[in-house]
């Protein structure tokens, strides 16, 4: 127990990220199921309008910040150091700090479900309810007097710190801790996409932090950043949010693209088609992701010049994305394909992401977007890219790397059941939403009239949502079964080309008994020019230094939610206590003996 609380081992932190994020993922899923129950019939009465607002807000916030990002982070942690031949990340304690801040931030946000009585309200009454993008000026104190939005803006600031700290850590890790000979253009694509993602994180998160700080000052200290009467414009929030929000979309999808770029070559027994182009497309997507944010705001009426500019950049960004898709398909073409569960999810990713990408291009055009914006059409789009895309990609990664992470292979038959149920379920759930939206049903309303003519489609969608739930039960059963009865994994159950497969499953605490020297992009495969590398010996030739654990990252992390409690409860001394804990944590951290 103590060894897990103080751990600085990237592999353990990766597993902590996985389990924490998976629980939040299930929580967000339950919220989605309640939403779908409410909408299964017109004039539904499952929940009240107020509860419904909290459900869709927390569903979006949870899935984006507490499920998808940290599930990706779980692979960054576990896999990236293994793929670059490192013994750990560059700053192991900072890594532990990121995890604890993430956990505490997630608990802070979700505590809002239960602490209503402390704010003289009922349970399930004070959770955030302003939508996942919390548009001003609805979020101002005047229109949202309760603590709901406070939980949201404080929780997101905490989570931002976690992502930023991890961002610096992984940039340095990937650039500076590569094994000898592992040049940048020999890096596995997953590691490349991780690197691009971290650059997006460290540039995008400060922007939303500023937006949230403004909102905090408006709500707690009487500032007017988003108050129209004072000459301000709520549009500022939209700009700041989407300046962050669009890069965030790529923060969510690029890791999944990286995973798919690992899984496809392994199971097609072919090198990735056009490695260089795939890498450069990823970098280009990262850059262009910064120039498209106002396409979320066409309905504002920015004027023809701004609309044209952002429509053009948005359509252009489809080009590198399309390039990647063709490269993945070309990788499969003529390959010696093995239809494992991981490959099913990877191919499912390609298919679903194409649909999501196409509906995305359809609202890159402002006139079309005006018809689609704020309807279920957009909900369909976002779920095709984030569920059909990111989640499918993440599951491909889970089936692919689970044996490496736990030493046991997940069951393939159960995996296939999981895949088909989820694949069918998501299409049944989300495809009708295109029609529901175009027929005129707006998003974020808690009920609808039977006269709208979307009742049947909504029922179909709800059935799909429950199919997804069943598929996840199959997955959980698979995890449970694998724990004791799963087939033991060898070093390399799939015949992978990258470094993580050269060491035992799960790897020893020092990862590599001898740090390998890399001479090719596919070190473990025989290519025209290169013989496969020699796997490191099973026992290290000499003692290996492994950094010990530390309590201080966790202590420092506790300071942040304590500080956040101060404005929430209007208790000034809590701010000083929180700052004190943070400072004690940082000093303990800085001055303890700890050698990497």
């Amino acid at each position: 127990m103590k060894s897990w609380l103080t751990t600085t081992d990237h592999k353990r932190i990766g597993l902590l990220y996985f389990w924490t994020a998976f629980v939040f993922f299930l929580l967000g899923g339950i919220e989605a199921l309640v939403i779908r129950l409410q909408l299964a019939q017109p004039s539904g009465h499952v929940v009240s309008a107020e509860t419904y607002n909290q459900l869709f807000t927390m569903h979006g916030t949870t899935m984006v910040f507490l499920a998808l990002m940290p599930l990706s982070a779980s692979f960054f942690n576990y896999i990236v150091p293994l793929q670059i031949g490192a013994r750990d990340v560059a700053f192991p304690r900072l890594n532990a700090f990121s995890y604890w801040v993430f956990l505490l931030g997630g608990l802070f946000l979700n505590a809002s479900w239960f602490v209503g009585p402390l704010f003289k309200a009922g349970m399930l009454n004070v959770a955030p309810d302003g939508g996942w993008f919390g548009y001003a000026n609805l979020t101002e104190r005047q229109f949202s007097p309760g603590p709901n939005i406070d939980f949201w803006l404080l929780g997101l600031q905490i989570l931002g710190i976690s992502s930023l700290a991890a961002g610096f850590n992984f940039i340095v890790t990937i650039l500076n801790l590569r094994a000898p000979g592992l040049k940048l253009m020999r890096l596995p694509v997953f590691t490349w996409m991780t690197l691009v993602t971290q650059f997006l994180i460290i540039t995008a998160f400060p922007v939303i932090t500023v937006g949230l700080v403004f909102l905090m000052f408006d709500r707690f200290f009487g500032a007017h950043f988003y108050v129209h009467g004072a000459g301000a414009t709520p549009l500022l929030w939209q700009h700041l949010f989407w300046l962050f929000g669009h890069p965030e979309v790529y923060i969510l999808i690029l890791p999944a693209m990286g995973i798919v770029s690992e899984v496809l070559p392994t199971f097609a027994r072919k090198p990735l088609f056009g490695y260089t182009v795939v890498v450069y497309s990823g970098i280009l997507i990262g850059f262009m992701g910064w120039g498209v944010w106002s396409h979320h705001m066409f309905a504002v009426g920015l004027g023809p010049i701004a609309d044209s500019v952002f429509a053009a950049t948005t359509m252009l960004i489809a080009v590198p994305t399309g390039v990647k898709i063709f490269n993945w398909i070309a990788t499969l073409w003529g390959g010696d394909i093995r239809g494992t569960t991981a490959l099913h999810f990877a191919v499912g990713f390609i298919a679903m992401f194409i649909i999501g990408g196409l509906s995305g291009v359809s609202h890159a055009s402002p006139p079309a977007d005006l018809q689609q914006t704020d309807t279920y059409y957009v909900v369909a789009h976002i779920h095709y890219v984030l569920f059909g895309g990111t989640i499918m990609g993440l599951f491909a990664g889970i089936y692919y790397w689970w044996p490496k992470m736990t030493g046991r292979l997940l069951s393939e038959p159960l995996g296939k059941w999981h895949f088909w149920l989820q694949f069918i379920g998501m299409n049944v759930a989300f495809f009708p939403m295109h029609f529901i939206g175009l027929l005129g049903m707006p998003r974020r309303i808690y009920t609808y009239s039977p006269d709208l003519g979307v009742s049947d489609l909504n029922l179909v969608s709800t059935v799909g949502a429950f199919l997804i739930a069943v598929s996840l039960l199959v997955f959980i059963a698979n995890l449970w079964r694998t724990r004791s009865r799963g087939e033991t994994a060898s070093n390399d159950p799939w015949g992978g080309a990258t470094l993580e497969w050269s060491i035992p499953s799960p790897p020893p605490v020092y990862n590599f008994s001898v740090i390998p020297t890399i001479t090719s992009r596919l070190p473990r495969w025989r290519t025209e020019l290169h013989a496969p590398m020699q796997d490191p010996p099973a026992t290290p030739p000499g003692p290996i230094h492994v950094p010990g654990g530390s309590w201080w990252p966790m202590v420092a992390a506790f300071g942040l939610p304590l500080m956040a409690l101060a404005p929430l409860t209007h208790t000034l001394w809590l701010a000083f206590v929180g700052a004190g804990v943070l400072i004690v944590g940082i000093y303990g951290w800085a001055f303890e003996p700890f050698e990497v």
């Binding site: 930023l164 000898p180 000459g231 700041l240 290996i544």
Partner: protein, 197 residues
């Protein structure tokens, strides 16, 4: 187990660069976006306040020019501290580190005086948009200065204890990077907020 063999700096790194320094430059890059967003907001809301006091009613250029000079000089002290530590001259290293922190404290004192005066003249965060944007922008900068002062004083105490020497020059250099970045942010704020009214 193996740490007796070589100092921490002898770690192999694939780019041959110090990991902490690299992380810190990435952090400074990230801070560019933080201050960029704050300054953008200040500019976007410039001239949109519906009630006074307005910038030209209240900003005290001579006073702030002195503060600016003070912060520039602290940057000079900082590089002198680094140069002293690097050549192992800890006597001057201590003096320059302390002077840097002291000038930082003077700057913070100036900001406290300025803020107090503004509040007396009727400008608070809830007065108008100028108040909101001004206090949050300069306050965020001030908070960065305060963290820097704490950091510098910590190094100074470590130096007094004899635990800071040429072997820790990188720590001083990184502290310097932070301090100079806070200084260049002020160079911009001084121009954008105070001189361009």
């Amino acid at each position: 187990m193996t740490h007796a063999a070589h100092a921490p700096t002898a770690h192999y790194t694939s780019m041959g660069l110090d990991s902490r320094k690299m992380a810190f430059w990435a952090f400074i890059g990230s801070e560019c976006l933080l201050f960029g967003s704050l300054i953008s907001t200040y500019l976007v809301y410039k001239g949109r306040s519906v009630v006074g006091p307005y910038p030209h009613d209240i900003l005290n250029i001579p006073f702030t020019s002195v503060s600016t000079f003070d912060l520039l000089m602290s940057s000079l002290m900082m590089v002198l501290a680094l140069a002293a530590v690097q050549r192992g001259d800890m006597k001057w290293g201590k003096i320059w580190l302390f002077s840097t922190a002291l000038l930082g404290l003077v700057f913070l004192g100036g900001q406290v005086i300025e803020f107090t005066e503004f509040v007396h003249k009727g400008l608070t965060m809830s007065t108008n948009l100028f108040g909101c944007t001004f206090f949050v922008l300069t306050g965020t900068h001030g908070a960065h200065v305060a963290v820097g002062v704490l950091w510098l004083l910590t190094l100074w105490v470590r130096a007094l204890q004899g635990r800071l020497g040429p072997a820790n020059a990188m720590t001083v250099e990184i502290t310097g990077l932070y301090w100079h970045f806070v200084d260049v942010v002020w160079i911009i704020i001084f121009t954008v907020v105070y001189l361009i009214q």
